[in-house]
């Protein structure tokens, strides 16, 4: 996904002098941007906190800074700078978290980032975006330029296969229906984000083979959450399953529960099951796929888990 990000940021910067890229010591492969637009390209040191402060100063004077960090350091190391220098001062900084979730599982728990969504979405003013693939991210990127709030965008090692289709309308703050067996009612509504939407789409296909009607609602913008879509689909479903590559505390599932409980009487809501990482650090090494398998997040395991939920209803 980072490759597509690089192409997108290059195009955005080329067409808008306000767009500035600050990278924290990463092999970006953007030498051409540095050469063509030296005022808009900054490869900086391993000083994540300072880079957010600098971005805040640039934003104060009209720039749209995109700050690229590994997700873990960009969130954890810079938390206070993000709170005070981005959110509190309402500076439109775009914080790009590369390697979000367990994309860099081979590097262990210092790098796996499974709490970032909860942290970022708790911040006033913040917008949180988790695209499901590179095609969706490419559609979102131009919209980020004039978005008034600071943005945290988690980029994972997702993207294959590409599930975003040309006909999908991708707008910040609007959830996307990726599968709908029956427009009137569903046996199960699957709400997913990021990499998990691919698993959700796979699961929906498998469930359909068994005659289970499902809807997959992909939520790329976790904040501001598309309450309207979530409630509309929730009220038509017999059961809801949320899926995220994130701890259950404070992530997508929590956000959906809050939206539903705040707006609909519980007696009018179906049972909700949340799938995600448990409340502990990921100590296992490996790949994203092996970690998903270990924690029951592999697409085939998702199918089994949803079937199990259905059979226990």
């Amino acid at each position: 996904m980072f490759f597509t990000f690089k192409d997108s940021i290059y195009e955005l910067a080329k067409n808008d002098k306000r767009v500035v890229l600050i990278i924290t010591d990463q092999d970006a492969g953007l030498d051409h941007m540095q050469k063509e637009m030296p005022d808009q390209y900054y490869m900086e040191g391993i000083s994540e906190a300072n880079n957010i402060g600098v971005a805040s100063g640039l934003a104060a004077d009209g720039f749209i800074p995109f700050v690229v960090n590994h997700a873990s350091f960009g969130v954890r190391r810079c938390y206070e700078q993000i709170v005070l220098d981005a959110c509190l001062q309402e500076r439109p900084i775009r914080m790009i978290g590369v390697g979000g979730g367990v994309a860099t599982a081979h590097l262990g728990p210092t790098h796996t980032t499974i709490e970032d969504i909860a942290i970022m979405r708790s911040l006033p003013e913040m917008t949180v975006i988790v695209p499901c693939d590179a095609a969706e991210m490419k559609k979102l990127m131009p919209q980020t330029v004039n978005w008034p709030n600071p943005i945290y965008m988690r980029l994972g090692r997702y993207g294959k296969p590409i599930i975003t289709k040309d006909e999908h309308v991708i707008e910040i703050g609007k959830a996307v229906v990726h599968h709908q067996s029956n427009p009137v009612k569903s046996d199960v509504l699957i709400i997913s984000t990021g990499a998990m939407t691919q698993a959700a789409v796979f699961a929906a296909g498998e469930l359909q083979k068994d005659g289970v009607a499902s809807t997959v609602l992909h939520v790329h913008t976790i904040k501001p959450l598309d309450h309207e879509a979530i409630i509309e689909h929730a009220c038509r479903a017999k059961m809801i399953v949320t899926i995220e590559d994130h701890v259950l505390a404070g992530g997508l599932g929590s956000a959906c529960l809050e939206a539903m409980m705040d707006n609909v009487h519980p007696k009018n809501l179906p049972r909700v099951h949340r799938i995600g990482f448990p409340d502990h650090f990921i100590h296992e090494y490996g790949t994203q796929e092996t970690i998903f398998k270990h924690y029951g997040l592999e697409p085939s395991q998702i199918v089994v888990r949803i079937k199990s939920f259905l059979s226990n209803e």
């Binding site: 000083s47 402060g53 600098v54 971005a55 004077d61 700078q81 005070l84």
Partner: protein, 282 residues
């Protein structure tokens, strides 16, 4: 009243200052009238630095606070904001009467300065933040080819923060010659002397080694401050740093040179009247 008999007994003197410095300190006392507490010592050490910058050095328009070509003043040690509020009131950014609302319900003048106040460029208060924001503003001025200069005032205690030194490296790398780090070196932080809490010396050598052109000055000597600030930038290749040797609590002998006035509460009416009369009778 002052907290102890001992302090009351020594509360007889105001150390030498000219009329304008005394006036600005009266405005600081005005800020304390309502709330009766604040970062008093931290503000009093700053007065001459901010005064000289706003009187003699910086370009700005009080009636047009967001004038793009203005110089940027960043109070990175945001808790010293009473001194900044006093100067902003004196210059017409805010009404001097507003000073009496400092930290009170409904006020926009908080115990740390926020950029909702006209003339306040960055919200500061958590130490180690404002400097980096100032770096970004300096970079912005260069890209936009504006003449704006950036003056960031840092506390010496604030230099404990690692983020300051990240910023220093950044400033030197980008040769931000139009940025000046001004260190209010009052030698004290909340818990004691900076030497005891986390020794910063040799401070000048540190800034030099981080790539700054550095000068030191008596931070209460108005003429000396003018001379030094008018020489900025000190280098065509490096950002500048001015280490201002100041006295915490400057102006009131009982408050000077002690961490006990870093934050002061219980400043009741008789105490403030006493302090005000000391300024008037000097």
């Amino acid at each position: 009243m002052l907290e102890s008999t001992q302090e009351s007994n020594v509360a007889q003197k105001v150390t030498s200052m000219d009329e304008r410095s005394r006036y600005l300190r009266k405005l600081i006392l005005k800020g304390l009238e309502g709330t009766k507490k604040g970062h008093v010592g931290s503000a009093l050490s700053l007065v001459e630095i901010i005064r000289v910058l706003y009187d003699d050095i910086m370009n700005y328009r009080p009636q047009e606070p967001m004038w793009p070509d203005r110089d940027r003043f960043i109070l990175s040690k945001g808790h010293g904001c009473l001194a900044l509020y006093a100067v902003l009131a004196d210059k017409g950014f805010i009404d001097p009467e507003e000073l009496t609302t400092y930290t009170l319900e409904g006020s926009r003048l908080g115990g740390c300065s926020e950029n909702i106040v006209p003339g306040v460029e960055a919200t500061t208060g958590a130490l180690g933040h404002g400097f980096a924001v100032g770096l970004g503003m300096a970079l912005a001025a260069r890209i936009q080819k504006r003449p704006s200069r950036v003056y960031a005032v840092l506390g010496d205690g604030e230099l404990n923060e690692g983020s300051i030194w990240e910023g220093a490296l950044f400033a030197a790398k980008h040769k931000l010659t139009h940025l000046t780090a001004i260190i209010d070196c009052n030698k004290f932080q909340i818990a004691g002397s900076t030497k005891d809490i986390l020794n910063l010396e040799p401070l000048k050598d540190k800034w030099v080694s981080f790539g700054f052109a550095v000068q030191e000055v008596d931070g209460h000597d108005v003429e000396a401050l003018r001379r030094v600030f008018k020489k900025l930038p000190f280098s065509d290749e490096k950002p500048s740093a001015v280490i201002c040797h100041t006295i915490k609590g400057k102006g009131f002998s009982f408050a000077e040179g002690t961490h006990k006035w870093h934050w002061k509460s219980g400043l009741d009416e008789p105490t403030l009247s006493q302090m005000k009369s000391l300024l008037e009778n000097e």
